[in-house]
């Protein structure tokens, strides 16, 4: 495994833990309105409108996907045309082998378009989200992939409000737990006893 965290490394966070997605969404709205800069939220399932509430713009990965698809179409056409027309025309049943048989190239062009779009887009997604096999995961709560939702505020970032004000705001929004200084940890590389010790000290 790659033992280098590249997402949340060396940062401490103020976290609010929620057990209800509606409460989390409201909390994000309130905090944003009061000008608190939120680092990110971590949820076990996609919470609708959360990205909009956090002010994230819609990803433009679809443009990348379109370009990959275009490349796939061109590859399909080039493959069929260069092999069956340019390099070695096969005359079968006296049928022509030139651009007029373009229609019979369409299935291959279509399939390669889909293939390139799917793989290109997923590779772009992994690259953009910094995901790769064996990378160390950064968690702020052991249950953030189970039933808890985490609202994280980077302590290193200057805020207009004091830390205690933010904490009481999180609590008043229905956070079941508020922690003023939490650092990321991972479950897959850490020994269970050591992990328990780490989590206790935090």
């Amino acid at each position: 495994m790659i033992d280098k965290s590249i997402l949340l490394d060396d940062k401490t966070f103020t976290v609010g833990i929620f057990d209800d997605s509606d409460k989390l969404l409201n909390a994000v709205g309130t905090l944003k309105k009061k000008g608190v800069k939120i680092f990110d939220c971590y949820t076990p399932f996609p919470v609708h409108h959360l990205d909009r509430a956090l002010g994230y713009e819609r990803t433009n990965i679809s443009i990348g996907a379109f370009l990959c698809g275009l490349l796939g179409s061109l590859t399909g056409f080039t493959l069929a045309y260069s092999m069956n027309v340019v390099d070695w025309p096969m005359i079968i049943g006296g049928k022509p082998q030139d651009i007029s048989v373009f229609t019979s190239f369409i299935p291959v062009i279509f399939e390669l378009t889909i293939l390139f779009t799917a793989f290109g887009m997923v590779i772009l997604f992994f690259a953009r989200t910094r995901m790769i096999h064996g990378i160390k995961e950064d968690l702020l709560s052991r249950r953030q992939t189970d039933d808890h939702m985490v609202l994280a505020i980077d302590n290193g970032e200057p805020q207009d409000m004091s830390a205690s004000e933010i904490q009481s705001l999180l609590a008043s929004e229905g956070a079941i737990d508020v922690d003023a200084s939490r650092t990321s940890f991972n479950t897959s590389l850490t020994d269970e006893d050591e992990l328990a010790k780490q989590l206790m000290t935090k």
Binding site: M1, L7, D19, D40, Y42, T43, P44, F45, P46, V47, H48, D51, L54, Y56, R58, T59, I61, S62, A65, G69, M83, N84, D87, W88, M90, I92, K95, V101, S104, P107, V108, F110, E111, L112, I114, L115, A118, F119, M121, V122, F125, R128, R130, M131, I132, G134, E137, D138, L139, R143, Q144, T145, D146, D147, N186, T187, S188, L189, D191, E192
Partner: protein, 448 residues
């Protein structure tokens, strides 16, 4: 949260988020049950049958099959089309129903997609081994060969099939894996043993469920669904063109693409129901796969079964109306010739049997649905058998008319693919979450 009181809840039992996680992770985190061992052992035994019969085919040659100069496609291509068709329900459920915002798909899409992948594995075996020299199975790929630049023929539907099936398999795998990542991360964070931590950690690719990732993830899933939909339609369209672009009476029909696609969805849903009814019972997932789900699926069966039935009748009427005696003979021979029993089995299983689903009782009674789903599977196998064998065994020249019966090797390979399918499915049910936890958690409060 959206709620329409007229509908039943999608997940029953008043589950909380942590209940969902605990229920769905239970088979992964506990020792396998006796029923799992039983099913898995049957799968492995049949898998050994597959290995044995394939080895015998390769060792002795393709003459161990009864395919001959007239019936050059027999059980092998029948089974190929059968398995490819079964795969289609998975993509249909996860892609088409996602585009239509059908939330009931969420508790069945994971296992249906797994089924797709395993079914395509099974399907691929048949054309590969039918080529005779399986070690030269890479020849249909567009590679330069040793004798010069003689390439593959891009005008041939058989080549289109190579591209279609391999694209279908790889895109389905990507779609399935992408859907699994958040759930693998859930298993990782609950894991206590070192091996489980490592392997689920490895395949979770560092997923931590940040809102940024989810935003991108959902767009990617939507686009994948958008491109998988025409893909799944194209795959069976191209499979049908293997037949439709020939000049064999009974095959040379323009109705084939829509007819095959409807048949594929029909048979796929039949297999999904067979598997899910077993899984629901064995794993106690009645709260997740509710009667509402079963009812929705039986309605799809009813619709596609009727489309297929309409296609059978249309084909027959067009043949009668064509004024082309070979075409007319091909259909008369299907209905009254030596393979009439296969034709009428097909008509009964596909056209008549699913019509029982007009009744609400039939749509909501699990054991009855199970019986009909098996009937549908049998019927759809016979459909491919009828199309292939009855069209070939009596061609234009009466001197080349023959009868075709499968040998034990052909039967063994077919049974063996069920072994491969079930072995893969049981391993999947043991090591991966059978239901998409992340998606289910978004709808446990919903009614739709």
């Amino acid at each position: 949260m959206y709620s329409a009181d007229i509908r039943q809840p999608l997940v029953t039992g008043g589950k909380t988020y942590s209940d969902v996680t605990a229920d769905i992770c239970r088979p992964i985190e506990n020792k396998p049950t006796n029923s799992w061992w039983l099913g898995f052992s049957i799968g492995v035994v049949l898998l050994l049958v597959l290995a044995g019969t394939l080895a015998w085919t390769v060792w002795e040659g393709i003459g161990t099959w009864n395919t001959n100069k007239s019936v050059m496609w027999g059980w092998d291509i029948t089974n190929f089309v059968f398995w490819v068709g079964i795969g289609h329900a998975g993509t249909l459920i996860s892609a088409v129903l996602l585009l239509f915002r059908q939330k009931w798909r969420m508790s069945i899409n994971r296992s249906a997609e797994a089924m797709t992948i395993f079914a395509v594995f099974c399907a691929a075996i048949f054309p590969l081994f039918h080529m005779g020299r399986v070690w030269l199975g890479f020849w249909p790929l567009p590679l330069p060969n040793a004798f010069g630049s003689l390439w593959v023929n891009f005008n041939s539907p058989l080549l289109w099939d190579v591209f279609a099936i391999s694209t279908y398999l790889s895109v389905s795998l990507v779609f399935w894996y992408l859907g699994l990542i958040p759930d693998i991360a859930t298993v990782r964070d609950r894991a206590t043993s070192k091996a489980r931590k490592y392997w689920y950690g490895f395949f979770a690719m560092g997923w931590n469920g940040s809102a940024k990732s989810w935003g991108r993830y959902e767009v990617v899933a939507l686009i994948l669904a958008g491109i998988s939909t025409p893909l799944v339609l194209s795959v069976h369209t191209i499979v049908s063109m293997d037949f439709a672009t020939s000049v064999i009476p009974g095959w040379h029909t323009t109705i084939f693409p829509p007819y095959f696609v409807a048949g594929a969805i029909f048979s796929g849903f039949g297999m999904v129901l067979t598997l899910l009814l077993i899984a629901r019972h064995v794993m106690n997932y009645q709260d997740y796969i509710t009667k509402e789900h079963l009812e929705a699926m039986t309605k799809v069966i009813l619709l596609t079964g009727s489309v297929v039935g309409l296609a059978y009748i249309t084909e027959f009427v067009i043949a009668a109306y064509s004024g082309y005696e070979y075409e007319q003979y091909a259909f008369a021979n299907r209905m009254f010739g030596p393979y009439a029993w296969a034709y009428w089995t097909m008509m009964f299983c596909n056209l008549m049997a699913p019509q029982v689903f007009w009744s609400k009782w039939a749509r909501t009674t699990p054991w009855f649905i199970f019986v009909i789903s098996i009937v549908v599977n049998i019927g759809m196998w016979f459909e491919r058998f009828v199309i292939i064998v009855t069209s070939l065994h009596r061609d234009f020249l009466p001197s080349s008319w023959v009868m075709y019966h499968a040998t034990w090797v052909e039967v063994g390979i077919f049974l063996g693919t069920f072994g491969l399918f079930f072995t893969c499915f049981f391993l999947f049910a043991k090591f991966l979450p059978v239901i998409n936890m992340a998606e289910i958690k978004t709808i446990i409060k919903d009614k739709e």
